[in-house]
Amino acid sequence: MSGGIDQADADEKLRQGYLILEAFLKENRNLPTPDLFRQCWKLMLRNERLFVGAAKGRNRFKINEKNLVYARFALFYKLLRKEFVPPVRLADESAGLEVHPGSIFVSFHSRLELAIAKLLQDNSHHVTMISAGPRRPQLLELFALSPAPTFIRRSNDCLVLARDALRASSSLIIDVDYTVFDEAQQRNVHKIGISAFAFARKMARPLYFVKPEVNADGEIICTFRLSQTVAPADEIAGNFKSFISDASVPGNEFSIGDWFSDTNGEVRTGTGRPGPQR
């Protein structure tokens, strides 16, 4: 058992799910790559109970389980169809993506962040991401990101390096959420750090909130909202929290925090400080 999940049962269901998928893929192998992916995704949604359980096991960021299933399947599908790239589009395509290079985009751990990079790259932006570490090469290949985004490792140097990136007209993507062990509650809590918002305010650059989601057709839909940067950082963080409220997992809602003081600058983000040993 892991976090209330019967892992053996979840793995067995996943195995069954992939058997169904394999049969479907074989039967429909003549479909064009995008159509086959869409149909597979619909099949997975119809059989969600088979796929979701296995995603719950190691989900420290409480990422939407549908996203985890999606990312896993997209990587699998890429092995079958090398030309496949997950479809990514704007929620409001009529508005277009008219943002200046050198803007700041804040989002949250969703397993879909590279879709944001893909959208920006398709609009001629060079992309820099602040992250606990570089993304897996398979994910960069999945989204056909070329050149790969520049990754700045989370540390107390990261905002100085981020300033350099902005000066070089690179657009910056920052996941602002983290988890940390809360002594009072004796559990990991999910927080939104304020540093990125303070940084955007100081840099006087356009700041966008971004929420990527997977729809029923297997498309990644990115919602962008331009934020003001005049208010104090914690107030902007509160606005972001409202923007993504429907993306948080029930029982694990975000609160506002300060990553550096909460984690003592530990680069192993996501794990936070270890809980008490029992």
């Binding site: 905002l159 100085v160 390096l161 350099d164 540093s195 940084f199 100081k202 550096f260 600058g265």
Partner: protein
């Protein structure tokens, strides 16, 4: 104390006071490691931007991150001015 050392001391102490920490003395400049000051990412950015303002220099890239001690930082600024 030269102008650069003085500016570094003023800026660093400003951040330390904001963080409720003890101020440095001129003697500390020679020995203290920047990483031992307990600065977070925003403090480090403030350090850079305040020094740029006070000394009318531009840190064109992040080479200053290679400076381990405040003495090295003083020397680095002297070289780019």
């Amino acid at each position: 104390m030269d102008k650069i050392s003085q500016a570094v001391l003023v800026v660093v102490n400003g951040i330390l006071v904001k963080n409720n920490k003890a101020e440095l003395t001129p003697a500390d400049l020679a020995a203290r490691n920047i990483d031992d000051l307990g600065f977070d990412s925003m403090d480090k950015l403030d350090l850079v931007m305040e020094l740029e303002d006070q000394l009318d220099v531009l840190f064109a890239n992040s080479d200053f991150l290679k400076c381990r001690t405040l003495a090295e930082l003083v020397q680095f600024i002297g070289e780019i001015r």
